[in-house]
Each structure stands twice: as structure tokens, then as C-alpha cells.
Symmetry: C2
Subunit: 334 residues, 2 copies
Amino acid sequence: MTLGERRIIEIIQKQLVEMPKMPIPFGDDVAAIDLGNNKLAILKTDMLDAKTDVPKTMTLWQAARKAVVMNISDFAAKGAKPEALLVSLGLPTGLTENDIEEIGRGLNAGAREYDAYIIGGDTGEASDLIISIALFGTAKKTDLMLRGGARPGDIVAVTGPFGNAAAGLRILTENIKTPESTRENLTESVLMPHARLKEGLALSKTRAVTAAIDSSDGLAWSLHEIAKASKVGFIIDKLPTDKETKEFALTNKLDPKDLTLYGGEEYELVLTIKPKSLQKAENAIRNVGSRLLIIGRATKKKQITLNTDKEPCTIKAKGYEHFKTNIKDSKPAT
Amino acid sequence: MTLGERRIIEIIQKQLVEMPKMPIPFGDDVAAIDLGNNKLAILKTDMLDAKTDVPKTMTLWQAARKAVVMNISDFAAKGAKPEALLVSLGLPTGLTENDIEEIGRGLNAGAREYDAYIIGGDTGEASDLIISIALFGTAKKTDLMLRGGARPGDIVAVTGPFGNAAAGLRILTENIKTPESTRENLTESVLMPHARLKEGLALSKTRAVTAAIDSSDGLAWSLHEIAKASKVGFIIDKLPTDKETKEFALTNKLDPKDLTLYGGEEYELVLTIKPKSLQKAENAIRNVGSRLLIIGRATKKKQITLNTDKEPCTIKAKGYEHFKTNIKDSKPAT
């Protein structure tokens, strides 16, 4: 595509009459409608296109499950509870009954992992395999974690280490070598992503979080999105690189920093937290069996700086770029 | 596609754990979630793929508008009020900023015609132009018009005449001739479809309607869907053929019956009505400036019979088939 995704959304948005009193501004991870009594209907739609989103070794079951998980992840980042999904399928010719069954099982598996249900959908013919999900759920208006609430001094934290999906994708699509002990975890993080739903729901109850986003477009991009919406900057003084990413980088003489910051297809939450409520947030996360990694703090100065090396440097607003080479055209392997 | 749409949905559905207490059974025009107090959240998703759903002479503006209208039409058939839409766009390479703007304007026009708003969405690259819509709205549980409530003796009615879209599509894709006076209306019914929303909402308040569906897969198919869900049959003794369809059929020596029954991409409502409440339904429809065409009645015998000729014949369970010839691959004309 000659036009970037960001520019396309900008152009479309300019043509739209805005709904009065939108509870969540256009462009956040999810959209909402006010149901009254502090209750919001939360909506999200995201489309998986096998041409760009499905590496060759991903099964149809995994692709269908992933299409669900990537939508659930946006709910997780906002503290919204997913309840029901609708699925629009675009199917290339030549799929068998077994293929369709596998897609159905993958959709169901993704939904049930997060206690949601597939309640309807539609299907038609398409050139690529397309799985478009519409996710519905609810949230308390006062529990929502938006992108725009970070304040200077807030603590920046993530729900897990980064880099494995970027490394895994390279292993799957470019056949790059890796220490055998790391191979499974790295590729699994691409093939079997998990949404941080219980973490997001637990954090939203604490009211400790001032801004949140999921990291599906990469850590650097997520930080820039929060910075833009909240009108702050960040100093990142601890990079949350996964130890397996470090081994992979060492073996391949790659920069682990790049894999950590500019990867993507990773479904961690990137959060800013009020310093005085940090303990509350950490307790909430611990109660659901996870942990917070603190990586920096928000600043008044609107720059995003990496301060881990001798020389501080700027974290670029570079998002995840689809690995188009070696990504199959339409039908994933079964 | 080797597998039919119906079979695909059947296979998928078999893999799904069903949500307990679904207010609307799987497979009706829309899905619903109970919000309590007789209120339902209504959801629908349907995908427009330019490869099969967009004739060559349709502009991008028209295609985007149509993607919205076809979803609104399902809400109309259930008596549900559309409120907000999310849009997933799959865009082929090579679209210009003007193209995107046109798509945005078409989406907005479709939504605003029915007092709804586009509140979010997502975009990515795809081989065909894909416009997947997720529509949210609400309805009173007791107002809903489902497919399964028709009883023997009920009156069968439609909200307008049929055949023009089938004729128009042939004019657009096969360059078939038609009397000049009919050309614009016939092609407009393909390029600028309208959803019968005010009719559906007005009818739902009367509680006179026992079953309803929109006719986007054709009149014959719609009758078969209601018959199957309600476990009834129909005798159709008056075919609602549009007068322009008759002229077109005459000119081209085509059977107007086929154009009326087995067309599609027509967005009328097909309804069954309690005989004693017919007056109420007719008044409601008149109050919104429209009219009901009575075409037959429901029977205990589970057959669908056309009784307009000397010899009664069976109406086949044949749905609308996409006119694949002459349908452009990805990018509609601008």
C-alpha cells in the first residue's frame, strides 16, 4: 500500500460526522456507546488477512484463534470484558470441509479462552483468507483505561518481556537459526499469542492506571501513541528484553534493542501508573499470577528517550512492519 | 467456492460452544446480547468484497455506502435501531487519497441516512477491496421480529415490489438493453439500495408481525428461510413484480417471475402478519409513507407454492447468485 495505515484512518475520519458525546475518542483501541448508569457497550473490529498476518507455518486453527486474540487484547488494554463475537469470513476457493472445521474450532478456542462466545457471523468468497472479528463487551465507564491520561511523573510499566515475537517471526519466515532451547518459546509466541485480559481487568479496578494500550504494533509505537494522546514524553531506562530474545540476538548478531522496541504482534499491555498507586497496581497484577515490569517514567518534555546506554537516544515512532516475504498468499498450512 | 455458504456456516456453527440463553437463535439476521430490563444489544456483521459484490460501474462511494446499507437492512428486518458502526477496511494497493476519501464519504453517508454513526475501525492491506461492517444497536426484547414465529394462516407481505435489482444488475454487468424510461430506476436499485428501516421499526411496535427477514438473498430464498425457521409453508398467489421489471423482461424475452423470485441484492422486508392485526400493520406502514403488498399466506403444509398461473408450481430454494462475470477484481470505478 502506498498510503500508510495511519494516513488512511486520518482521511476516513475526516469524512465522518462524529457521534455526539463519544465516551471514548475516535482512534483509541476500542469504541464505546453509553448505555447509561455508568455502563458502556464496548466494540472493536479488527481483520486478519492471511496475506500479511499469517506466516507459512501457522495452521488455520492458529490463524482463526489469533484473529480472536488480537481483538481481545484491545479489550484487555482498556479494562473491558469481552462477551460475544461475530465473525465475517472471506474464504478463498479450494478450502475443504476440514479446513472450515479447523477455522471454526480455532475461533471457538480463542473465544472460550477468554470466556466469550461466538454468536453469529457471515461468510463469502474472497481472494485471501480474511477473518474479520467484531467484538462486543461491556465496561464500567469509570474503570476504562484510555490512551490519553498519562501525566508527567507517572511510572511506565509493561506486563511482560518483549522481543520473542519479533525473533519468532524471523525464525518462521526467514529460517534464521536460534539456540535449540529457545526455538519453541520464540515460535510459540508468534503462533499462540495470549491477550493480557485478566491483567487488564484487574488493573482497571485499581484506578491506578492513567493510560494503557496493547503492544500489537510494537513497544516503541505503543509508547508514541500514549505520548501523543496524553501530550507527554517518556524516559525509558530499562528495556524489557526477554532472555530468549537476547540469546537469539547474540546467535544472529542482531541488536536485541531493535527486537524489543520495533517488533510487534506482541500482546502485552503498556501502561502508565500514578506513582502513589503503584503498590496497588502491583498487588492487583500479582493476584492474577502476573507481574509488572517497570521500564521508565513519563516526562513533561515531549520526547521519548532511551536511557539505557552511555548515550541516551531517541526511540523512533516506528511501528511493526509486516514480514511480507515468505508469508503465504491465501491459505495457511493445515 | 466449492462449498456453499450455507454449508460453511453449518460446519463452523458445529464447532462453537453456544452462549447460554441467547436471545436470538444462531442463524437469524442479527445476533443479540441481553442487557436486562427488556433491552437487547443487537449486533450484525457483514462483509462487502468488491470481487463479488460490486459491479463495474459502481463507484467507491456507492460501494462503501452499500456496505453500510446491507447491514442496516438486517436491523430493519428485526425492528432494531442501528446506532453505531465499526468498519474494517481491506485495501488493495494503488488506491489514492481521493479513493480513500470517497470510501470515507460513502461510509458516512450510509450511516447518517439511518441516523447512525461510524465510531471506529481498522484498516489493512488486502488483495480485494474489503469493507467489513460491524453494526451495533439496541432493541426492546418484546419488539423483535425473528424468523421463527410464522403460523399457518398468517398473511405474507412485502414492503415493496421486486425484480428491479436483478434487472439492473444485468443491465450493468451484461449490457442488456432496456426501455430508456426504465434504465435509471433499474440501475439505481443496484447502485443505491435503501434499507426499509423506518418500516421495520414501525412494524415492530405493532406486534402484528410474526416473522420477518430482509430479502437480500432473493424473495424465494427469504420465503424458504422463514418457512424453515417457522416450520410452515406458503401459498403465494400474487407476485410483487415491479412494473419496470415487467417492461425489462418483455424487451428481453425474460421471465419476470424469475427476476422477481430469484434475484437478490434487494432490501425489502418479507413478513408474516397475524390476520387480525393486519389493519394495525398497514396503518403503521402508511404512517411512515410506505405500503404493504400482500402476496400470500402461511400454510401448515411445508411447501412453498406459487399459485398465480393455471398450474400451481413449487418455488425453489434458490438464492441469489453473484454475477461474477464482469464484476471487477478489486477496485471499483471512481
